[in-house]
């Protein structure tokens, strides 16, 4: 073995260093970088995997290994990017051992991949979030197929050598050589121009020589360019919750941890050329990542099938059985055959059966669930009961869900009643074992606000200022990325006074002297914060995505515990799973399903018969009439103010109308300005026209405008002759913000295809532009259809069973668009009697009491779930005899009982609330003593009168947020009368453009980003809800007033058909007084 020595850099003889500078270089140096971190070494690496690969390609590095800390988070992105760039991607990890030392592991074979996954899982097990500690005994058991490098300065061997413990270091090296095999353990050499590097290197080389090991050079890359060192320093500070000034040794002393070209590495290791040669040797031995990453080879556990049946056969049997049951006439046999054939071709039969099994379990145990999203395009999903939508009746396109051309596996999303979702997740764990099922992860990346906040903290801004800066995060980043400030940042000059003033103005007109800060920290902040955007900050759990595997999951992908109890996540997010073709099942909690189930149960309890909502024909004119009148509060998907405004113009009369209506208020149709043309055409004010006759078939059902995602597919197919798979790829590209290059490719293909079908270029271009504006921010029809089922069901319940419906809604708050007091008011308007909280009658949540709705104890603030339960449990034993008895048996504290008194929960006792409040002191004292002791009669106690009606209302609202008997506006009714405010019920009688005063309680405030600064308020009075539109200028003038809970608005009435709103000119806040 030829190794270098620790000779000086220069000597009297021509030194090695001189040689390297003089250019006595090997002709074509080559080098494989075997130790590089990406941004997925959370808060310890800067470059995204793709950027790392791109830089390696620029530097002509043939082989690159990604070795993030204890993780394979970025493995899929890295492998994909490297493959595209023609670089051989190797995977590995820098493992943290139990003594906190580092060890670099590289995957040599597929077995090595499984072992590394297992080792990372073991290292993460039982550790806190972001921490890992691998026991040496675990390491020794899983070394097959792995190559180990001795690690960076934090490696055990370098650490011992730095401490002067050479013999001990040699012992460790020998032990590692024994564990991994001498050919699989290398001494890692790094040169970062740190003090003592030479000495350490000499010792490492000597040790390698004595033990008989090879050495290898690595870069320990943490960023790509020296200037990124600043970002890296900031990330380290964020990780360790410290400021740069206090970070000390947590920061590296220089900016040498960059990715170097082979030439630079050859120069650096000129004295030890074998170290570079060995990097290539190792690279050659290691299999490229795509050889062992799953890549569509996911093995799912076997779903339950009849004995002896294959999955495909069982799936066909289930579908055919159901086909004849559901389609009495003209069953779509061909479609079923086509779908089954594609499913068979893609090997997804087992996957469908697994989903079917989960849905079957949910139904059997009374958990309401249904598929959503593109799965509703599938007849098979419909027949298996996964989706409630008949794709034939709704004319849905199967390819939107599944096609052989699609590079990624399908996702089946299932909405599950939110309150029982956990049962379904636990069923999956139980059925397939905890080793075979886990949740997908998500990477929470830096956004404007978090980037500014964290960088400001790291730079040592005072805490109060950090929050101010974070609040203006978006505006600050805008400043940093464009305009004169950005130019100054780019030139690295000190910020000018004007630029600094602009920054301070962004922060709300601060005076620099008030902060006592110089310009420099602001300059650093604005320069660094944008560089953090998109870098993963920490790990989260995906909403509901579960991954299931036949072999233990920890051999397929590393697992780690989530912060939530009993949850394990895999180290890949949705995109990585897509990238390797692994399917996941999304089990998403939906409160509306819980509410519907609850309402059905209430009806069953009242009427003795359970309504079967699946048999509803979805064409009841009464239901549609109710919706057309704008009575949509509580109805799924159509209750928002935007929808409520739309409904009087749209006037849905069929289930298909509902599907369209749900889809209209989405960013896609709104941004592409499709909503008003559609409404005008629907109202007959505008003729239905098409940009080209070929579009008629695709857009006929939506009157010539694009509303659904599927229509993008149809347009591409009909106009430009795209195959279904190609069309789906186009849709995906359109929905990705950063896929411009891809879109350009598709555009050419689209134009050519259209011209080929006889469409002129200009028309084709116009159509494509429409598609682009539409983007992907819209519902697929299948998804809208699935949601429309819930819309209809909830509307039907509201129409025919308002008591059960509103009770169920209140039981599952928070849900939907409105706070509970609006739901209570709406229930009253629908004729439902609402009764207040009562300690003798109320349950924890709202209940039906005869023909009335009884508010639950949960609305009482300060009571809590435990407190409420204790009241219910104590009452079940015996009714309460006195306040002292109540306090003794419920063990509630003063605040909780006070809350109940104010909420009116003791009103039935006929005592003034203040009297009870006065007695409470004695009652609590008595409750603490022995129950057998007689309570002495109070002497000279004061007498309190009953509260006035307004006083009662005030205290109820303050302590529960709702009022059972009266509307909240009663608190300001005298002021409203004084100001001559028009009640909402009288607005339809007024003329368009008429000046009007309206007032009430604020129900919602919205300022959507798409509205260009326009704000929308919803005010409620006793008669209903009034929509108020506030233009930006008026909003700025009345910014504070708008925050008040009660308002009076002076404005102009606006009418569009039956839709009424008030355009505000002035907003006056009202102050509600208790008495």
């Amino acid at each position: 073995m030829v190794i270098g020595t620790s000779a000086p850099l220069s000597s009297q003889e021509p030194g090695r260093h001189r040689e390297q500078v003089e250019g006595r270089r090997s002709p074509v140096p080559s080098y494989a970088e075997l130790h590089a971190h990406s941004s997925h070494s959370l808060l310890d690496g800067v470059p995204a995997p793709e950027a790392l690969v791109a830089r390696a390609a620029d530097l002509k590095i043939p082989v690159l290994a990604l070795t993030d800390h204890d993780a394979l988070y970025g493995a899929v992105r890295f492998a994909k990017a490297a493959q595209e760039a023609g670089i051989k991607p190797l995977l590995g990890a820098e493992m943290t051992l139990e003594d906190d030392s580092h060890l670099t592991l590289l995957i040599e074979t597929a077995e090595g991949y499984a072992n590394l996954c297992r080792l990372i899982t073991l290292a993460r097990r039982d550790q806190e979030k972001d921490a890992a500690k691998l026991r040496k005994c675990d390491l020794a058991a899983c070394t097959e197929g792995l190559i180990a490098l001795s690690g960076c300065r934090r490696g055990e061997i370098p650490r011992l050598l730095i401490a002067g413990k050479r013999e001990q270091a040699m012992g460790v090296a020998q032990a590692c050589a024994r564990i991994f095999g001498p050919d699989h353990f290398f001494i890692e050499l790094q040169r970062h121009f740190r003090r003592g590097d030479n000495r350490l290197m000499a010792r490492l080389v000597t040790l390698a020589d004595r033990v008989g090991l090879d050495v290898v050079a690595t870069g320990d890359v943490h960023y790509l360019h020296p200037h990124q060192r600043e970002v890296h320093d900031v990330l380290r500070c964020i990780r360790h919750h410290t400021a740069l000034g206090d970070a000390g040794d947590l920061l590296r002393p220089n900016d040498e941890y960059v990715l170097r070209s082979p030439r630079e590495m050859a120069d650096l290791f000129d004295d030890i050329p074998i170290a570079l040669e060995n990097s290539l040797r190792i690279a050659e031995r290691c299999a490229p990542a795509f050889q062992y990453l799953p890549a569509g080879t996911q093995v799912l556990p076997q779903a339950p099938v009849n004995e002896g049946d294959a999955s495909g056969f069982h799936l066909r049997w289930l579908c055919e059985r159901e086909l004849s049951r559901r389609y009495k006439v003209d069953p779509p046999v061909d479609l079923l055959e086509r779908e089954l054939s594609v499913i068979q071709q893609l090997g997804l039969a087992n996957y469908f059966l697994i989903v079917w099994d989960i849905v079957r379990f949910a139904r059997q145990t009374g958990i309401r669930c249904q598929g959503r999203g593109s799965a509703a395009n599938s007849l098979v999903a419909y027949l298996l009961g996964i989706s409630p939508i008949d794709p034939v009746a709704c004319d849905l396109v199967f390819e939107r869900f599944l096609s052989p051309e699609r590079g990624s596996p399908p996702d089946i999303d299932i909405d599950v009643a939110a309150d029982r979702r956990e049962e379904v997740i636990q069923y999956v764990y139980q059925r397939y074992g905890r080793e075979h099922a886990a949740m997908a992860c998500t990477f929470v990346t830096f956004r404007a606000r978090s980037a500014v906040r964290d960088v400001a903290r790291a730079l040592g801004f005072p805490p109060s200022m950090v929050e101010r800066l974070a609040g203006a995060g978006l505006e600050l980043l805008d400043l940093a990325c464009s305009g004169p400030v950005a130019e100054e940042l780019d030139t690295q000059a000190t910020l000018s006074a004007e630029a600094f003033q602009e920054i301070l103005e962004t922060l709300g007109g601060e005076r620099a002297v008030d902060w006592g800060l110089s310009r420099k920290p602001f300059q650093h902040l604005l320069r660094l914060a944008p560089q953090l955007l998109g870098i993963p900050r920490h790990l989260g759990i995906h909403n509901g995505g579960m991954v299931i595997s036949g072999p233990p999951l920890c051999e397929v992908v590393p697992l780690e515990p989530a912060t939530m109890e009993d949850r394990v996540v895999i180290q890949w997010d949705k995109d990585s799973l897509d990238g390797v073709g692994m399917v996941k099942i999304d089990l998403l909690g939906l409160r509306m399903l819980s509410a519907i189930e609850n309402a059905v149960a209430i009806i069953e309890g009242q009427a003795g018969e359970r309504p079967d909502l699946t048999t509803l024909t979805r064409d009841d004119p009464e239901v549609y009439e109710m919706l057309c009148q704008g009575k949509t509060i509580g109805v799924f998907q159509v209750e928002s103010r935007a929808q409520a405004n739309l409904i009087p113009r749209f006037k849905p009369r069929s289930f298909d109308d509902l599907i369209v209506q749900i889809s209209l208020i989405r960013p896609g149709p709104l941004q592409a300005q499709m909503v008003h043309p559609y409404l005008r055409r629907r109202e007959g004010c505008e003729p239905i026209s098409y940009l080209h006759p070929l579009l008629e078939d695709a857009l006929q059902e939506t009157l010539g405008v694009i509303i659904f995602q599927e229509q993008v597919l149809k347009v591409a197919r009909d106009l430009a002759d795209f195959t279904p798979g190609e069309a789906e790829l186009l849709r995906r590209a359109l929905s990705h913000k950063r896929a411009r290059r891809k879109i350009t490719g598709f555009k050419e293909r689209f134009l050519e295809g259209a011209i080929g079908r006889g469409v002129d270029r200009e028309t084709a271009r116009q159509v494509f532009e429409k598609l682009q504006a539409f983007g992907g921010y819209s519902f697929p029809k299948s998804h809208a259809a699935a949601f429309a089922v819930l819309t209809y069901q909830s509307a039907w319940l509201r129409r025919y069973h308002p008591l059960a419906f509103f009770t169920a809604l209140l039981r599952h708050q928070p849900m939907g668009f409105y706070p509970p007091h609006v739901i209570v008011s709406e229930a009253r308007r629908c004729g439902v009697e609402v009764r207040p909280v009562d300690v003798e009658s109320s349950d924890m949540k709202a209940t039906v009491e005869g023909e009335a709705l009884r508010l639950g104890l949960a609305v009482v603030s300060g009571l809590g779930e435990t407190g409420g339960q204790s009241v219910v449990e104590a009452r079940q034993i015996d009714s309460f005899r006195s306040l002292a008895d109540f306090c003794r048996r419920t063990k509630l504290g003063r605040r909780a009982v006070e809350g109940l008194i104010w909420a009116g929960a003791f009103d039935a006792w006929g005592m003034p609330r203040r009297q009870l409040l006065w007695e409470l002191k004695m009652a609590l004292e008595a409750a603490e003593g022995s129950p057998k002791l007689p309570i002495p009669p109070p002497r000279g106690r004061p007498r309190f009168a009953f509260l006035s009606p307004r006083g009662r209302l005030w205290t109820e609202v303050v302590h529960t947020g709702v009022s059972a008997r009266e509307h909240l506006t009663s608190l300001v009714s005298d002021r409203l009368d004084e100001m001559g405010v028009t009640p909402s019920g009288e607005l339809p009688e007024l003329k368009n453009g008429q000046k009007v005063w309206v007032g009430g309680v604020i129900v919602s405030r919205q300022r959507p980003p798409t509205a260009k600064g326009v704000a929308f308020l919803a005010l409620e009075d006793e008669g209903g809800i009034i929509n108020v539109v506030i233009r930006p200028k008026v909003y700025e003038e009345n910014r504070r007033a708008v925050q008040s809970p009660f308002l009076v608005v002076e404005g102009t009435l606006q009418r569009r058909g039956k839709a009424i709103s008030v355009l505000a000119r002035r907003v006056i806040p009202l102050r509600a007084e208790p008495e």
């Binding site: 000086p8 121009f193 805490p463 650093h524 004061p942």
Partner: protein, 468 residues
């Protein structure tokens, strides 16, 4: 009893706004800069409207009113104005009590004969205090401390509010209960019971109130009824400690007197230490049986609470007195007293600890220091800076064409570089004072090893020096 209350409302705010009129344009908070760790000392009416109140943390105040101006407190100046107020009151009556900054109570029952009526007294008192302080003083006159204080709050700026002798209850009853020094919980409960005025509170049975709210409520109840009988307590004289001993059998023996001095200075030293004070001066007084007294005072240098030092000083003073006959009384007084930390002593931390141990402790030490500074101010702990390494000295270096040192000129001698053993780079503190240096460990022709570095930013060569 008649009591007067002199009040300079928001004294610190008034002073700061007078110093810098710009501060009157926005809500003002006094106590520190917005990111300081301290508390609000005072705030303007606009800031109060935003929910800020004295005693609140500055960060909390900042959150409530981000637009406010924050000004550090100049307590010395505020106290000076307050003293003027006290002095003005003392010209009328010796019974003057400082209740808080800018709020002074005085008993004026004895002034009946000097003034024709109370209005005349009030007018003159207000006039004198306003003239001497230069700020608007509000004056309240009533039968109890509480009534006088509320009257002062009710008075217009620079004017007096006089509550007639039989009008206390009528004056108090319409006032909001927040006028009483209630704890927040009691105030909350009273309000929730509908008790919003002092009159409403006074209408409740006293015993029931005490039972409901505890024994403290009795005093508050009496205040609300205008029946509290707490007198004005004159401000204590400057703090001093003294010990004296009367000899039943007069003593002529010096050794015996010294023993008593020792005993008394030990006791004084203990007391001083316990209270956290140091004495700046000491006085010894001896009274002979014939009635002649000898008094001698000396300053304690440096100020101390050390009993041994006090004893030595006492003994010296006793020795210098010409005492003719037996002594009947011996007194020792230490004065004036000042806070302990002015004579802080330096401590050696980690004495005898190894470098590794020091390194382990250094992080904890930094944190401890940070907290001490945060809590007690920057001067509470001063870190010794005796161990600063010698500064690098400029040096001339000739380099070869690759930038490696070839020779150095040091102490006027040229020394050739035999070899460069190591090169390392330091790039630190880019966020404040960037350090960009290329270091070279050189072997010189005379066999010595030196470390030189090039400051990349200034392109200067320096020689790294180490401790001997």
């Amino acid at each position: 009893m008649r009591m007067v209350c002199l009040l300079i409302l928001h004294l610190p705010v008034q002073m700061e706004q007078r110093r810098d009129p710009v501060l009157a344009e926005a809500p003002l908070v006094i106590g520190g800069r917005r990111w300081d760790a301290g508390a609000v000392l005072d705030c303007s009416i606009e800031a109060t409207a935003a929910g800020i109140e004295p005693g609140m943390r500055l960060s909390q105040a900042e959150a409530l009113c981000p637009d406010a101006r924050f000004v550090p407190a100049d307590e010395e100046a505020y106290n000076a104005v307050h003293d003027i107020l006290v002095d003005a009151a003392k010209r009328f009556t010796p019974i003057v009590e400082t209740k808080s900054l800018g709020l002074v109570l005085a008993e004026v029952s004895g002034l009946k004969r000097r003034f024709d009526d109370e209005a005349g007294l009030a007018r003159q008192l207000a006039q004198e205090t306003t003239d001497s302080s230069g700020l608007d003083v509000c004056l309240g006159l009533g039968g109890t401390r509480f009534v006088a204080e509320q009257a002062a709050h009710a008075a217009q700026s620079g004017e007096a509010c006089i509550v007639p002798p039989d009008g206390d209850r009528a004056f108090l009853f319409p006032l909001d209960i927040s006028a009483l020094p209630l704890d927040p919980e009691m105030e909350r409960r009273l309000r929730s019971l509908g008790v919003r005025t002092l009159g409403a509170l006074a209408n409740l049975p006293r015993l029931a109130v005490i039972r409901q709210f505890g024994s403290q409520a009795g005093a508050l109840y009496d205040m609300a009824c205008g029946e509290d009988d707490q007198p004005v307590q004159a401000d204590a004289p400057p703090l001093q400690l003294f010990r004296s001993h009367t000899f039943v059998d007069p003593v002529s023996d010096r050794m015996s007197l010294l023993a008593h001095v020792k005993f008394m200075t030990d006791d004084l030293g203990r007391q001083l230490s316990t209270r956290g004070y140091q004495a700046e001066g000491m006085r010894v007084k001896v009274e002979e049986i014939c009635g002649e007294t000898h008094t001698l005072g000396k300053s304690v240098k440096p100020p101390s609470s050390n009993a041994e030092q006090l004893f030595r000083l006492g003994a010296r003073m006793l020795g210098s007195m010409t005492i003719g006959g037996p002594v009947t009384d011996l007194s020792i007084i230490v004065y004036p007293l000042r806070p302990f930390h002015l004579g802080a002593t330096q401590l050696t931390l980690f004495d005898g600890a190894s470098p590794e141990e020091v390194s382990t402790f250094s992080r904890a030490l930094r944190e401890t220091l940070r907290r001490l500074w945060e809590r007690f101010g920057e001067l509470s702990v001063v870190v010794a800076s005796l161990i600063i390494p010698p500064k690098p000295s400029p040096i001339q270096v000739t380099t070869d064409r690759y930038g490696l040192p070839r020779a150095i000129v040091w102490r006027e001698h040229i020394r050739e570089v035999r070899c460069v053993y190591e090169l390392w780079r330091e790039r630190r503190r880019w966020w404040s004072q960037p350090i960009e240096r290329d270091y070279f460990r050189l072997g010189l022709e005379d066999g010595q090893m030196r470390v030189v570095f090039r400051d990349v930013r200034t392109d200067r060569w320096l020689l790294e020096r180490r401790h001997l």
